[in-house]
């Protein structure tokens, strides 16, 4: 169980770094140069990159920081934190699925930073689901 929370905290730190980078790009008005392999410019300058006036990446950074905090608290025995972690990660996963859909079918461009974030969230989902799976067995 401890290893799972450590893994979740490390993954959420990676997600936090990724989301922070995108937030800074957004706040400084920087757009990533267009290349043959990347559609980041299109994704980051799209209308979907902002929610209620806030950069979506900033919301993501806050979510990853919350996941990190909850994982650390759960690691140190705060059981309530582990219970909050699961619905939060499930919600983040559904948001990631929605953002993946937007990239694939609406904007029709993929940004590697956004895909990296989606991959992190998917890994976190697998982790929290494994906790749900093994917890009853442990009890």
């Amino acid at each position: 169980m401890r290893k799972v929370y450590i893994l979740a905290s490390v993954l959420s730190l990676l997600g936090l770094a990724d989301a922070l980078y995108l937030t800074i790009e957004h706040l400084t008005g920087q757009t990533v140069r267009c290349t043959i392999l990347s559609g980041c410019s299109e994704v980051l300058s799209s209308e979907y990159a902002v929610v209620a006036g806030m950069p979506l990446a900033a919301v993501g950074a806050a979510a990853y920081f919350t996941v990190f905090s909850l994982a650390i608290l759960a690691l140190f025995g705060y059981r309530i934190a582990g219970k909050i972690l699961t619905p939060l990660v499930i919600a983040m996963f559904f948001v990631s699925v929605w953002l993946f859909y937007l990239q694939a079918f609406v904007i029709r461009q993929f940004c590697q930073y956004c895909l990296f974030s989606a991959a992190i969230t998917t890994c976190l989902l697998v982790i929290v689901l494994s906790l749900l799976w093994f917890r009853p067995a442990a009890q």
Binding site: L16, L20, I24, G29, R33, C34, F68
Partner: protein
């Protein structure tokens, strides 16, 4: 101690994250959007370090001839842009370059090279072809401007040909000839020649800008930075 250790870890991570964000937002220059009006950096300020002088001069293979240029051939500052009409940063750079041309007048010579990023941008090749077809009737820059000015409108459409034909009519081209020229070998060859030049100069993305043969770093393309780069080149040339 064990009860408060997780809170200490969380606070440390929060502190590191906020400090990093604060540091990076201060060090990364704010890009100037078309509506923005950032004050120019004075010579001697940190912005004056924005010089391509430390970059090597790149001599690529020749591009399409005659090239699409603005400004006198003997201008002390020669700027060459490799651009993609569908690339959003190229769309943001377009008004910045126009502003530089207005500010520096006959001291600046601008060349535009086609570098459509296929397949990343589905309409980039059509846009480049439209601009080159307009060029065959002597109105490349008119088409160049109108395509960039309306980038957000046409780039989301499924079929862009009627839109570009509308632009052709708007700028006074012979539309029937334009429709033929868009698919002509002459237009395709020009785009290919510019692409070959770009590849030979190490261009990997757009916009890529060279000033007097030296690549300008992407972060120096906002107006306040680019202005300093051009001023530094003028100073080096003794103008």
């Amino acid at each position: 101690m064990k009860r408060i250790l997780p809170f200490i870890i969380i606070l440390v991570v929060l502190g590191v994250a906020l400090t990093s964000a604060w540091y990076l937002t201060r060090t990364i220059p704010a890009a100037q959007n078309p509506a923005g009006n950032h004050p120019p950096s004075a010579p001697g300020s940190p912005g004056s370090q924005a010089s391509p002088a430390d970059q090597p001069v790149v001599n690529g293979v020749p591009g399409a001839e005659p090239a699409h240029t603005h400004g006198p051939e003997n201008a002390p500052v020669k700027l060459e842009e490799f651009g993609d009409f569908e690339c959003p940063p190229c769309g943001l750079f377009h008004p910045i370059l126009k502003q530089m041309e207005e500010e520096f007048g006959d001291k600046l010579h601008v060349t535009f090279r086609e570098f459509p990023l296929v397949p990343t941008h589905q309409h980039a090749l059509a846009a480049a072809s439209a601009a080159e077809a307009a060029g065959l009737q002597g109105k490349f820059w008119e088409m160049h401007h109108i395509i960039y000015d309306h980038q957000k409108e046409w780039s989301k459409q499924f079929d862009v040909r009627p839109i570009f034909e509308g632009y052709a009519k708007e700028i006074g081209l012979d539309v029937d000839r334009f429709k033929k020229d868009v698919d002509s070998d002459a237009v395709a060859n020009r785009i290919m020649q510019d692409g070959k030049r770009g590849h030979s100069m190490g261009v990997k993305g757009t916009p890529t800008v060279f000033i007097n043969g030296r690549e300008v770093n992407f972060e120096n393309l906002p107006a306040d930075k680019l202005r300093v780069v051009i001023q530094n080149e003028l100073r080096s040339a003794g103008k």
